[in-house]
């Protein structure tokens, strides 16, 4: 079934021009282009508007109607800026840091199923790959922080590495609960298994009485993995100025910024795929009112997937503009003494549920 759903993308893969796998390149580029557009325009604009709404402000209003072109104006400004490399910085690391960060946050998009007919690479270890590839970001952060030759950057980088590496454990175990319910690591297959006539009832979040626990654990851990509040201690602006990107300006800063928004959508997409059915419509069939059938399909799939992603991004922003920041030791306490044990508990309980309750 999964293969037939992939027919469209596989046809594109077969498209070669002058011996070049052009179709494959286009296929890989589409999500990136979409996400880049989303990240830069709607992500940043959305964040500014949502925070403005929460804080009794208007937010950007000048450029275009309701300021919708504000981000484009910002990008144009950032492109024109001088590309400054501090004299005392380690130039190689300083330049390569944002690049690694950017690549790390976008590599996971390859395995995200955006629609029944569209996935960059339908790996049979997709989830494993998505969990693992995030760790590349750590290298970029460390390179940026160390290469800047700035004490605040160093603090930010070291905090960040400790945080991301620690939080990968509860995050991975929580995702494993979902993988256990599916019996596969293929992200497209996980979605297919959550399809059904009753819509949201088939989602893994509602398929077992303990699924909310790994869901919650992964959501919290993913906030820490992408350095969002209340876990934004690597870039804590009131403590570490701007953390590991204190010295960056111009387009390098924009790339780091873009990577952050890219990561935000990535973790939101992963949590929707594993626990909330990814591209499946949440609407159930009600007798002759076949809502589920009407709202499923390749195009609807992309719609639901993006909507679910946006929903989690909205929650991330909501939290960011509401909560204060944790302290470093409290962050580690939360990871190792709260989230990790509960992740193990949910893992065992899910295993018992899957074995004894069919």
């Amino acid at each position: 079934m999964g293969n037939s759903l992939n027919a469209w993308s596989e046809a594109l893969v077969g498209f070669n021009l002058l011996g070049l796998p052009l179709g494959l390149i286009i296929l890989a580029a589409i999500p990136l282009v979409f996400i880049a557009l989303y990240s830069l325009t709607y992500g940043v604009y959305g964040e500014r508007k949502i925070s403005a709404f929460m804080q009794d402000r208007l937010g950007p209003m000048e450029v275009g109607k309701w300021g919708i072109l504000q981000t484009i104006a910002d990008i144009l400004k950032l492109i024109q800026k001088e590309d400054i490399v501090p004299t005392s910085a380690d130039k190689f690391l300083f330049v390569i840091g944002p690049g690694i960060l950017f690549v790390g946050s976008f590599l996971a998009y390859a395995v995200l199923p955006f629609s029944p007919a569209f996935i960059g690479a339908s790996l049979n270890v997709g989830l494993y790959y998505a969990i693992g590839i995030v760790a590349i970001e750590v290298v970029g952060i460390l390179a940026a922080g160390w290469g800047s030759n700035n004490k605040w950057s160093l603090y930010g980088a070291i905090r960040s590495v400790a945080q991301i590496v620690s939080y990968e454990i509860p995050a991975a175990i929580a995702l494993l609960c979902g993988a256990m319910m599916a019996g596969t690591l293929d992200m497209q297959q996980i979605n297919v298994l959550q399809s059904g006539a009753y819509g949201f009832v088939h989602f893994y979040l509602f398929q077992s009485p303990i699924a909310w626990l790994p869901f919650l654990i992964y959501f919290i851990a993913s906030l820490a993995e992408v350095n969002r509040a209340p876990f934004d201690i690597p870039e804590a602006e009131s403590e570490l100025v701007a953390g590991y990107f204190t010295e960056y300006s111009g387009m390098k800063f924009a790339v780091i910024f873009l990577a952050e928004y890219g990561s935000m959508f990535m973790v939101s997409a992963i949590i929707s795929v594993v626990f909330l059915g990814g591209w499946n419509s949440p609407l159930p069939n009600l007798g002759s009112l076949a809502l589920n059938d009407w709202t499923n399909g390749p195009v609807w799939g992309a719609f639901w997937m993006i909507m679910k992603g946006f929903f989690f991004i909205f929650i991330q922003m909501w939290l960011r503009w509401t909560l204060p920041r944790l302290r470093v030791d409290q962050l580690m306490y939360l990871c190792w003494k709260v989230l990790t044990p509960f992740a193990f508990i949910s893992f065992v309980l899910t295993a018992i549920w899957e074995i004894y309750v069919p």
Binding site: S51, M54, Q55, S238, L323, P324, L326, R327
Partner: protein
């Protein structure tokens, strides 16, 4: 405090158990790093510089470096007439200009020994208390930012804006008022001013509760401030602390009560001290709670003043202002309760000149900040930020 002293040696690893720092390992061979925090750091509230000696994230020593905003206030005062000092006092604690003017006016009036009209006294108290609320709103809002909560800051500024609007209506300026003059006021308040102030009081009460729910109702906020930067009452007194800082340590000391001036003796209000139920007495959370509760007390004071104020009929705000201020030879020290503590003015006159021969300001935040070295020892960098925020410094007053 005994345990903390050993941390000064460096090379230790500490952890925090409930309120205490527990030393895990001693004599580790780690390298200490000198970290210059400020003067352009975002959370030193201006141009304060802290030279920190850090061991990892633990501060072994933090020394405040002052003077980036020094403007020779005291020397300037020796070269200008008494009334001309008033605008300079606005620039001391620029978040509470009315209170600074009030303190200075009180000092010179004490030197001249003059009575001012009763209505002027009430207006002074009303504008000073309004400014106290505005100042506490900034303190609470920026404290939220220091801990990473951005939204309460904008809620605070939204309400502060209304106060600034009211004060601008009365005096013509938003922050640097030059409104309270020696012997009276620059002018009477506008016709509907008191009505609008009363409207503000009814508007602000629920907003203050909402603000408190957003901050102290938040688990993370409490975790970040509870038991951090504890200052015992006796040490606080020895350091000469005053204002919300001293009251946060549990000492019931408020100059409006203990050394009353103006019309404060006629007004019923509470001196707020932490009850120790929600916070450890003397920690950052206590200071925050004291400020929050003081806003409510200020609202009460304003309401009572509006009830008691004499009508404006036949009132001339400048009736008691001397034509030429030339006090008899002598010296005076007068103090007033500012949002940040005791602001005192020591003024000396030689009896011949229209200029003070010495005018010394005893600044509240400067004295409060002097305890930084004690408070910061063995804290983590995020806690240091929390402590600076709870001291609520205004560099204009620290450096003068």
């Amino acid at each position: 405090m005994q345990e903390l002293d050993t941390i000064g040696q460096g090379s230790v690893r500490v952890t925090r158990k409930s309120d205490k720092l527990v030393i895990l390992e001693k004599d580790l061979a780690t390298e200490q790093m000198v970290l210059a925090m400020g003067p352009q750091h975002p959370s030193t509230h201006g141009v304060l510089k802290l030279e920190c000696l850090t061991d990892g994230e633990v501060i072994t020593e933090a020394i405040p470096v002052l003077g980036y905003l020094h403007r020779c206030f005291e020397k300037c005062c020796e070269n200008i007439d008494y009334p001309a000092v008033v605008p300079y006092t606005d620039r001391l604690d620029y978040l509470a200009g009315m209170n600074s003017e009030f303190a200075y006016a009180l000092a010179v009036e004490k030197l001249l020994d003059i009575e001012i009209p009763r209505r002027a006294e009430f207006i002074r108290v009303i504008v000073a208390e309004l400014n106290r609320i505005a100042s506490h709103l900034v303190a609470i809002g920026t404290y939220g930012i220091d801990l990473g909560a951005f939204t309460p800051f904008l809620f605070c500024f939204r309400d502060r804006e209304i106060i600034l609007g009211l004060l601008e209506w009365a005096s013509g300026a938003r922050m640097l008022y030059n409104y309270i003059w020696i012997g009276g006021l620059a002018c009477d308040v506008p016709a509907d001013f008191l009505k609008r102030v009363r409207e503000f009081v009814t508007y602000f009460r629920p907003k203050a509760v909402e603000l408190q729910e957003l901050l102290t109702g938040n688990e993370i906020f409490v975790k970040r401030t509870h038991g951090i930067g504890i200052m015992p009452a006796d040490v606080a007194i020895n350091y000469g602390w005053s204002g919300p800082m001293l009251r946060g340590s549990g000492v019931k000391w408020d100059l409006r009560r203990n050394d009353p001036y103006s019309v404060y003796p006629e007004i019923d209000f509470k001196v707020v001290v932490p009850d120790g139920k929600h916070s450890v007495i003397g920690d950052c959370l206590s200071r925050h709670l004291v400020r929050a509760a003081e806003m409510e007390e200020s609202l009460k004071i304003i309401e009572q003043c509006i009830d008691k104020i004499p009508s404006s009929e036949g009132f001339n705000s400048r009736s008691a202002i001397p034509k030429r201020i030339r006090p008899k030879a002598g010296e005076v020290y007068s103090r007033a309760e500012n949002p940040r503590g005791e602001l005192g003015f020591y003024i000396e006159s030689d009896g011949k000149s229209t200029k003070p021969i010495r005018c010394k300001a005893r600044s509240s935040c400067f004295v409060n900040l002097s305890a930084m070295k004690d408070l910061s020892k063995g804290q983590l960098i995020p806690d240091l930020v929390a402590i600076i925020g709870s001291i609520d410094i205004v560099l204009g007053e620290v450096d003068r």
